[in-house]
């Protein structure tokens, strides 16, 4: 059987309280006892049960991460970042693939509560706010890549999507493009809205129009991007540049262009968003707005830890609506990565 704190105590001829203290480096223990006990723990290969200590000490050192799909390269990278930073700080992470389905989200949050995770990071759409609101006061929560919902007490870490959209526009404008179109994800997602908004904003400033039918909403699959791009490319006044709200959609656009015999970047420029591994692997490689995934994930974890500390220091208020600090919102800078999918439009060459 695995050794317990009792085994150690008996072996060392002390009480379990004493052993507990050396484990947690609390209280004063004489140097000799301490080292003797440590030696015994080593010898018996003793590892304190997180389960038991969670039942009293309250910490499970486990975080929950909700994302739509782990196999989507962007979220896979987010997951890695969260997991890495979490591990550095002593936390494990439970992944939850929600598929953006509300029932699943509810199930997961409920499971995470039952398992008493210390915090939750949400990178998925949450249709029903109320659930989140209920949850928020009990488990520290941070939204990653999505805006927090009104009435929710959650911190937020996002990329500066709007600026990213602006940068994409700026790049294309600089190359001389005037007729542009957009492949967007569902505009229900805040980040998509912001990217589009930034893009359009910059165009507006230059007095360039972005007709409504030049903005297409897609799911986040390659196939959707391809279909919508096909239609866009069949327009009488074919756009010379496409801004795609993620790499997957951009790949769809690349495929549609190829099918139509339209060469990239000579006849069509494509800018994508996310800069996942996919962007570097296509032909031509995609010019893309990079999200600082690493930092996104790390920041989310750090915000959570800060929240833990704050709640501990003001335990009385921990259950009131006013607990914790004010929810923070952190927007991280994106970066334009220029590859080979963009160039000046032909007419201008």
């Amino acid at each position: 059987m695995k050794a317990t704190i009792y085994d150690i105590a008996k072996e060392a001829g002390v009480s379990i309280a004493t052993v507990s203290k050396v484990i947690n480096a609390k209280g004063k223990i004489s140097q000799e006892k301490r080292s003797e006990i440590i030696a015994i723990m080593d010898r018996l290969n003793y590892q304190p049960s997180v389960i038991a200590s969670a039942l009293t000490g309250k910490h499970t050192y486990t975080l929950g991460l909700l994302i739509p799909d782990i196999a989507n390269p962007f979220f896979a990278e987010v997951a890695r970042a969260v997991e890495q930073r979490g591990h550095e700080l002593g936390y494990s992470v439970i992944i939850c693939g929600t598929d953006n389905r509300n029932e699943r989200i509810e199930q997961y949050i409920s499971v995470l509560r039952q398992k008493q995770v210390d915090g939750i990071i949400i990178g998925t759409g949450v249709g029903d706010t109320s659930m989140l609101r209920d949850n928020a006061w009990s488990i520290p929560t941070v939204m990653i890549g999505r805006e927090a919902y009104a009435g929710t007490i959650a911190h937020t870490v996002v990329s500066d999507d709007r600026q990213g959209g602006r940068d994409a526009a700026e790049h294309l404008l600089g190359l001389g493009h005037r007729r542009m179109a957009v492949l967007s994800e569902s505009l229900e997602i805040s980040s998509s809205r912001e990217r589009l908004r930034g893009f359009r904003e910059r165009l507006d400033e230059q007095g360039i129009e972005l007709p409504l039918d030049h903005v297409r909403q897609c799911k986040y699959r390659v196939e959707d991007g391809r279909r919508q791009a096909r239609e866009l490319l069949a327009l009488p006044e074919r756009p010379t540049a496409l801004f795609c709200c993620n790499d997957l959609l951009a790949i769809g656009a690349l495929q549609a262009a190829k099918e139509a015999g339209i060469s990239i970047p000579q006849e069509l420029s494509v800018v994508s968003f996310d800069n996942t591994i996919l962007a570097s692997v296509t032909d031509p490689p995609l010019t893309s707005i990079a999200q600082p995934v690493e930092k996104l994930g790390a920041t989310a974890v750090e915000l959570l830890l800060r929240e833990f500390r704050e709640r501990q220091s003001q335990p009385q208020r921990a259950q009131t609506a006013a607990q914790g600090a004010q929810p923070q919102r952190i927007a991280l800078q994106t970066e334009l990565i220029i590859r080979s999918s963009t160039a000046a439009p032909r007419s201008r060459r």
Copy 2:
């Protein structure tokens, strides 16, 4: 505060034992009491603490998954499969990105033990067998995509890598290729060895030689594939076909060929392995040996569950070396997916 079993019991005017029984559907409880208690649990939004129940009932309903890198598309897909099947069966999964580093692996296994996960799925290299051996008797373990180590009591689910290698060879041979080369991952990894072995075997059967310097070991990064491919393509008798042990390496090969002005598939055929999303996204799309990831993940979870049951039914022997059933080894079929990176060699056209 969250409601506990005591709150429910008090509210219902029964003992906590009774409440516990209705939670677990154990023992006989009168229909009225049962429904009354259930109603109260609903009303108080009661959710039993997994932590507390784990301390007695022994199940945490949590699995650990060790993989080298979650952001690697192949492992991301494995993770999704494991997570999905796990969720269906009532288990959460903690992801652990090991980066193939031994210290990390040890840390993780130790953490997972402390958290009393019910089982561990290992998809990463494990340098030091002894650790695994020590672990195996205490936590049910299954290897996924890697062979179990000698002396280890772990089940194994793999793709039939050898057959996959054979199929790749067969495909290339059928197209008429004779001069071939291989981009492999480290041959310390059993799956890489098997792929190469199957490939070479089939060539041997046709009396075709695969010179030693035509087999290059790479890490699993695009850049390595590119560098090694560059060398291969500079050989005086340049190979007409390349078998790459994963998609990443194949992408490197594609890039090297492009740099060298070698057109694919006209002048060089490329077959990859894994068939991740990357294979469908390159230009040209890659002919690839698909691993049945979905099934791989699901099977791993199922083997674990079976092991749980077996250990429960023979608790006496659970701590002896002979516990559980014999370790199983399941090899799943791969599938050749033909895309556009392979064709007959030029000389033969």
